[in-house]
């Protein structure tokens, strides 16, 4: 229907015609709804609350937030080392006279198998020990009650891969075995440590 009455006096209230909505607008709406569907298909993350921009699927989220086991262990070891061990061994791992021997470049830390240092950390260490040609004679307390197997393995992994040290990671299984061997009191210096096998 076309608009009635071509002109009215301006004082009267306005009226409206009855032309139906043009088909092209309806088709445009339809086309836009179609586009909208595709857009939501691609960009709505299936309406999942865990999917944030700019990711579209859960797999993308996972792929872009890689957290390897090694990374977790490294970070855990770093955290625990700096909370505890650095008080004596220093944050730089260089140790300090009267407090603790260095870990950087230490032959004990860099031994291919970590069994000896695992025993030292687990049971404590007292008596003479030579590190990098220097004689040390201090007391390290036992840490078996302060760290879980996982944490201790992480700390040892950390000191073996930080500050230029390069030695293989330590597994929690090994720590578990070391813990299972009871040892009264601390290890008696470098002598007793040397008698242990490097690897378990």
């Amino acid at each position: 229907m076309k608009s009635p009455e071509p002109s009215r006096e301006p004082g009267a209230e306005p009226t409206a015609g009855f032309a139906t909505v043009p088909i092209c607008l309806v088709l445009a709406l339809g086309a836009l709804c179609y586009w909208g569907e595709f857009y939501l298909d691609r960009n709505s993350g299936s309406f999942d609350e865990h999917i944030y921009a700019p990711f579209h699927t859960w797999d993308e989220v996972v792929a872009n937030n890689p957290v390897s086991e090694e990374q977790v262990q490294y970070n855990l070891g770093k955290l625990k080392f700096h909370q505890t061990c650095e008080l004596c061994h220093q944050a730089t791992g260089l140790g300090q006279d009267g407090k603790a021997p260095p870990l950087v470049g230490s032959e004990w830390v860099l031994a291919p198998g970590p069994n000896r240092i695992a025993h030292a950390v687990m049971n404590g260490l007292t008596g003479p020990i030579t590190v990098k040609g220097t004689a040390w004679n201090l007391t390290m307390p036992a840490w078996k009650d302060n760290f879980t197997d996982k944490e201790m393995a992480a700390i040892l992994t950390y000191i073996r891969s930080e500050w230029g040290n390069k030695a293989p990671a330590v597994k929690a299984d090994l720590i578990k075995k070391v813990r299972a061997e009871p040892h009264p009191g601390p290890m008696a210096g470098g002598d007793e440590l040397s008698k242990l096998p490097e690897n378990l």
Binding site: S3, P4, E5, P6, S7, R8, E9, P10, G11, A12, E13, P14, T15, A16, G17, F18, A19, T20, V21, P22, L25, A28, L29, L32, C33, W35, G36, Y39, L40, N43, S44, G45, S46, F47, D48, E49, H50, I51, Y52, A53, P54, F55, H56
Partner: protein, 472 residues
């Protein structure tokens, strides 16, 4: 609801003169308050804008710091001017189109009083540091309560008047007015409950506040402005609106999809929230086209009508600004554009065009038509013309400078090697020009208030003269 009368017919007749007389008190109060808040609001945003160039200006006064004076100015505009002018125009439209006198004008006056109390408390609250921080919703909780109560008191006469209307077809402006009134009560109570009374957890607050701000701008104020435009353009051009079904299409498209706009992509909310918002915003295109085509067919580009009536001039410009602001919102929601222009002056420009361009001019046009008929007086034509040109030049300057500044800012920031402070310095020229625009808008608001005071004093003098004449 076509032939059967619904409520007992009021004693007042349906003559326009009597209808206007029944509205006189509440509308006068609403419009005068609105004019005063407009001046205060534009003064505050002007001061804020100046402080961007002279940061030390009044910097030691905590109530006038940028972060307080700017939201205060904006809320003066939205709540002091915007909703009062909108409700005043809305009430008048419901009366005129329903061909019935206003019912409950006393209630409306109370509502206006509570509303103004709420806005005053709110603005003072913002200045003393009780701002809520949410965009377009900075009024503190204690003010929001008064606002809501005042709003209900203002909505009751609207609904009563609508219910008492003469039987007949509804005109689009009536839908828009009712839609706006209904919408505000829902969004305001929701935002009040979920942000102020019992705050939701974490980023859900952002979703609610962005939803509220957009619905306030797009639906509440937008529909009031559209109601004015849909009424005055056909009426003053002397031709019927081309199509009511087209207007209905616009109405439902805006309520359904326009209410989804305003939530940006890339925010910490889940991705589907931003995407749904983008889809809704883009679907608004059909509504924008329908409005443009509807008015094109109504007016048939008969530009001689531009000189006919100042209201018509205001409404034409308001319509064009609505089309541009909506188009910008649609374009700005697209992901690629949002990545470039999000969080820059671009978004600010769109809001400014929506508020000061489309909505304010639509309201001015309506008030310039309504008030002389309420008071049986005339405006000063020079001040009116000055107001029109000041507002138009002001908003064009403000908008263009901020749009260009925003796009420039976005492009420069998209390069990581441009430092933030360098980008800021590059956009300052645009901001300076924008301040000039704000100055023009403020002066325009002053001129409007001056004209208002003039027409009131003229009416007062004439009434006094009449009374004296009758006594002697």
């Amino acid at each position: 609801m076509t032939a059967t009368p619904t409520a007992p017919q009021p004693a007042a007749t349906s003559a326009p003169l009597d209808i206007d007389a029944s509205c006189r008190a509440p509308l006068l109060a609403l419009f005068l308050s609105a004019a005063l808040w407009l001046v205060l609001g534009t003064a505050c945003t002007l001061l804020a804008s100046i402080k961007l160039h002279v940061p030390h200006l009044l910097a030691d006064c905590s109530a006038l710091t940028y972060g307080r004076i700017r939201p205060a100015g904006l809320d003066c505009f939205l709540y002091g001017f915007g909703l009062q002018a909108g409700l005043g125009v809305g009430l008048w439209l419901l009366c005129r189109l329903g061909r019935t006198a206003l019912l409950g004008s006393g209630v409306a006056l109370f509502g206006m009083a509570f509303w103004n109390l709420g806005v005053s408390l709110g603005i003072l609250g913002i200045l003393i540091g009780d701002s809520t921080g949410y965009p377009a919703f900075e009024l503190p909780r204690y003010a929001a309560g008064f606002l809501f109560f005042g709003y209900i008191l203002l909505a009751i006469p609207a609904v009563m008047t609508f219910h008492a209307r003469r039987p007949g077809l509804l005109y689009p402006s009536q839908w828009f007015v009712l839609g706006s009134i209904f919408w505000f009560s829902w969004i305001f109570s929701t935002a009040g409950m979920l942000l102020l009374c019992s705050p939701v957890r974490g980023v859900v607050q952002s979703s609610v506040s962005w939803w509220y701000a957009n619905n306030l701008s797009e639906i509440v104020l937008g529909f009031m402005g559209l109601a004015s435009i849909f009424y005055f353009i056909p009426k003053l051009v002397g031709r019927p609106l081309h199509s009511a079904p087209w207007a209905a299409f616009v109405f439902w498209m805006m309520t359904l999809f326009g209410s989804w706009a305003g939530l940006p992509e890339g925010s910490p909310l889940p991705i589907w929230v931003g995407s749904m918002s983008t889809v809704g915003t883009v679907l608004m295109v059909v509504a924008v086209l329908a409005v443009a085509l509807n008015f094109y067919h109504t007016v048939r580009l008969n530009v001689n009508t531009l000189d006919a009536d100042p209201t018509l001039r205001f409404c034409y410009v308001a319509l064009i600004f609505w089309l541009i602001a909506s188009a910008q919102q649609i374009i700005g929601a697209l992901r690629g554009v949002n990545a470039l222009t999000g969080l820059t002056w671009f978004g600010v420009a769109q809001k400014e065009l929506q508020y000061y361009g489309f909505f304010a001019l639509g309201m001015f046009g309506a008030i310039y038509y309504i008030l002389p008929r309420l008071l049986q007086s005339t405006w000063c034509p020079h001040l009116l013309k000055a107001h029109f040109w000041l507002s138009l030049l002001g908003i064009v300057t403000l908008y263009l400078s901020h749009v260009i500044g925003g796009v420039m800012q976005g492009i420069l920031l998209s390069e990581a090697r441009n430092s933030f402070i360098d980008v800021l310095r590059s956009t300052m020229m645009a901001v300076r020009i924008g301040t000039l625009g704000e100055l023009l808008i403020f002066v325009g608001a002053l001129v409007f208030l001056l004209n208002f005071v003039k027409i009131l004093s003229e009416t007062g003098q004439r009434l006094r003269g009449d009374i004296m004449g009758r006594l002697s």
